[in-house]
Symmetry: D2
Subunit: 337 residues, 4 copies
């Protein structure tokens, strides 16, 4: 850790800080410069963090040297992790597509959706039971009933399921009926939820917060893994920017960035990432090309009647064509669809 | 609601949509243009929203005319609301300062902090019991013990308290011991928490999400108020932008914008809003000048030893000088400190 | 155009505006609703724009229906345009790679660079003569001398060249010596430069402004094309966001979005788009996969000694491997490298 | 400067870099840590910058210690600079309001505007001759004719003028007729223009780029001052963010931030900063409260007929009331209006 002192800091200020660094069992360094004095602290940066030097009145800035995440990092675990959702692997040589409606609306809808996405080649079915909606007047999801529908449809069609969980109190009910639990963008820093998911015994699909830096996404994953659950799948789903042509700005450079720094699988959600139906297929191909391990795609048997996110949902025929168009790109990436 | 059709939409497409608008009891309008057909729907936009026309394959865009929030709007309730935290009013002619440490660290620290901030003129004491922290390795707050400390200190010094709640399961424990519950920036769209706070019987300080548009902040407040709790205080605390000189970008234009559209009181958090101690006092004055009803300021008896956010915390003497410097600006705004 | 009036607007206000719409030869519409009066204006929105209704005290908002750009739009010109830089086509069935150093530093450097990038399969050489640099103390480019080097190297190796122009006064000198002129991100809205380039007789590579919406990029292209120069190549090069892991956030969804709305070719700059050498190759593959017509890549014979942007420049061997890795993705996209 | 090496860097890599630092006459430091080797370089960071170490394959990151700007910094020049526009000082104990229409439209309009803003207390008249407009189909300004109008009106009413310059070739014509030259947000990094303004002999009002960090604004000012023109006034005018309720997000924390780091005067443009007429007065008060030296406000004799930016322009009566409302806040800030 590098500590830059303010111009008026005295030798006594420096000595006091150096002494505190030493007391923690770290190695202190004194580096006087021509315009500023710089201090160094060699050792575990989490330990040195306990000094809270950024609050010191004579400290101008504190610059950490090491990444703040550990168990999710590739330095810690050099090989790619493969996470299994039911019998469907995510990571490794497969390119896995998770598809289905934004919200579970009825047994008929999900039955149809499951058949359609499985037929087209999806390895996993998605569908929301608890829907976080911006307005209290929008459809909020069917809740427990939706979980039962997901479980029934999953059994009938032999396809594992992913659904979002928004509250610690619901984790058990969801984990009993679904094969993976999703953390939505608005809950990426709901740390209580993350910690509880660290003990839920099922894989977690962790979506990037819409204002989260990649470092923060990795730290959110660190919350789950450090509680004992190694099965985390990271999901890039677009960030908030000034651009209004798309609902979010899909940050695909996140994919190779995360893969280089972490051993966890990374999937991409081009539906929320763009919010525009016509952009879903090209961005799916781009995701495969830059090294993603799979996709999360919204598919609705009848988007015209979808109760949420209809604008970005694909009808089954467009999803089938997306899957066909994806094949040569997945092959070019050395993977199998 | 205005519905713009795609260039290739036919008269039949238009008729089908107009029929669905009519079936909902709304008045349909057909407006053929030279390059696009535009449809109108006159009536309650929340009802028309149930048609999910944005998902229709022949619809290019849907433009709502009315604001999506109702009970928090000034159209609904033209006069300023005053929310009382214990005996301290927020809104109206007082300019209310809520101050205290980022986190409750010990009885001694809070006892000192309460005495200091009250002496300097603060009307309410803040202090975090449950701390949402980016890294799992950072100090997470003292939890229940902190609530007991807050309650004891509040009683001793006769100052009401505000503390953050991060989980539905904690609401009761917090509401029993504190005078107001705060929703942090990461939970502004934790809708389950918002709904539960709508029934907690205590005032809620609702912080703007760091990526939330003002419309979304008002809809978050709508969740709480529409569940039966009218006592919501909105808080501008900075948004995430490309600028790194400050921790967040404090969006003070949010203050007059919110006051013009909503009857709820609006306070400003210049500590998180800037993340820089030297900017807290000038931004506090600016907040008073543009019409805020109060402030949320981090003050720590000894920022050098603060376990979180030391860089932005004020030591007591700087807080006292902030309060003195604020006085003429509060007076210029026609209020009392 | 849809004009929403404020709640207190009277019938007289509406009539006055409707009369002004009619006077322009457009068709006015009066649409009274339950809470707001909405007016419509059917006709050329550029004409109606001359009314400046957004400034009217009784107007709440103005919502255009049509896109503001014309000559660059696909509605105007349904087929893909192909722009030739020297003998190298951009657009159509080729996937064209423009490569070379950030800045022209010497004849030796450019001679080497030209040989290396041509050998690896690039169709065009880039190199900056006039460098816009954030600090006045950074290397500002060799200017005219660099243009002579580019011309000499181009002739020797038989490869056309692209270089940035930053000032109207330089256009002639650049156009005489190079095959295409580039507008950098900081000049995307230097409208005087755009207009002059509309008459320069050479193709223009127009980079997206780092804070420009896609609509603004298309309007910037409209400046050039409407002055008589149809040969514009759009370039996505990343936008400014809160993320600091990458220098910019490469917005690849811009590629299919632009291709759907405009007939102009679209290339991607993954070097500036990420600012990180290790991300250039994966993002190049993603660009090919989502429909880009080519790339702009920084390659330096010796990045360790590059006078600018060394961190994102590829050494020749990495560029060769990028080109090889790109091949199957370009083929999957139905194009030739 | 702190240089962090990659995990696999060898002692030889470190030695090579240390040797290069030493060759430049700077003092090299070798700081081996438990997980990374860190190097230090003590001396002029601009000199060390010439090593371009960020491009070195074994360098993970480079962290400068000192600010990159010099002549505009307060460290260099501890006292506030006062810049005179004609006879009107900006900085010091006056709070200076520069007001007028977005664009010069006619002699009558400017004559009226000059009389109105002077009467209300403005110290300087603004009006655009060359208008940078997003669309080529929008009004582009009257050009030279506008400059003549400004000069005539200035003489008649005894009020100095500020107008925007967009091109090096226009500087002389503008400098001859106006008292200060403005650099617009789109040209903040038009470095050729900045350099030329460094020799124009008149004060420059430098607006922050809509995507510019404050560090970049100070470096843009450094371009002008280092060419010999000390009379630069910095202007905060809002940045581009995800928020759409306002045209830009006015970053008022820029004011104290800039004043703490630089000796140059800082003014605020609440008109472009918000884009909403109703927000101009409260944000003007906030600007005065946080230490701004003045304002740039759009005032139009008849905003309903303004040819640009009517939505944010104030009619004369609202400007008069803004000035009156401002008075107690300016007094509270210890200044005179």
């Amino acid at each position: 850790m590098i500590i830059v002192l303010k111009p008026k800091a005295t030798k006594e200020d420096a000595d006091e800080i150096l002494r505190r660094i030493e007391e923690l069992g770290c190695k202190p360094l004194y580096l006087p410069g021509t315009e500023r004095v710089v201090l160094g602290a060699i050792g575990d940066e989490r330990v040195i963090g306990a000094l809270h030097l950024e609050g010191h009145p004579q400290v101008e800035s504190v610059k950490p040297i090491l990444s703040p995440y550990k168990v999710v990092s590739r330095e810690c675990h050099p090989h790619d992790s493969v996470v299994n959702i039911g019998a469907t692997p995510v990571g490794g040589e497969r390119f896995t597509v998770i598809a289905g409606p934004c919200a579970v609306e009825s047994m008929e809808q999900m039955d149809l959706a499951a058949a359609q996405v499985k037929e087209a080649g999806a390895g996993c079915l998605r569908g929301g039971a608890f829907k976080p909606r911006t307005s209290p007047y929008s459809f909020q999801g069917l809740g427990l009933e939706a979980l039962e529908i997901l479980a029934a449809v999953s059994k009938k069609h032999g396809i594992p399921t992913v659904t979002e969980v928004v509250e610690v109190a619901d984790i058990e009910a969801v984990a009993r009926r679904c094969d993976a639990l999703q953390v939505g963008t608005r809950n990426m820093q709901n740390f209580r939820l993350l910690k509880a998911l660290g003990q839920c015994g099922k894989p977690v699909v962790l979506k990037r917060g819409m204002a989260a830096e990649l470092k923060e996404l990795l730290l959110a994953a660190e919350y789950i893994v450090s509680e004992g659950n190694p099965d985390v799948i990271l999901c890039e789903r677009g960030i908030k920017t000034f651009e209004t042509a798309t609902r979010n700005t899909l940050d695909l450079s996140a994919v190779p960035y995360l893969k280089q720094r972490s051993h966890l699988p990374v999937v991409v959600d081009p539906s929320h990432g763009t919010g525009v139906r016509e952009l879903v297929a090209p961005m799916s191909r781009a995701a495969a090309a830059c090294g993603a391990d799979g996709l999360l795609v919204e598919v609705h048997p009848n988007p015209t009647e979808a109760m949420s996110d209809g604008k970005q949902s694909l009808p089954p025929e467009l999803f089938t064509s997306l899957m066909q168009g994806l094949r040569p790109f997945v092959a070019a990436a050395g993977r199998k669809l």
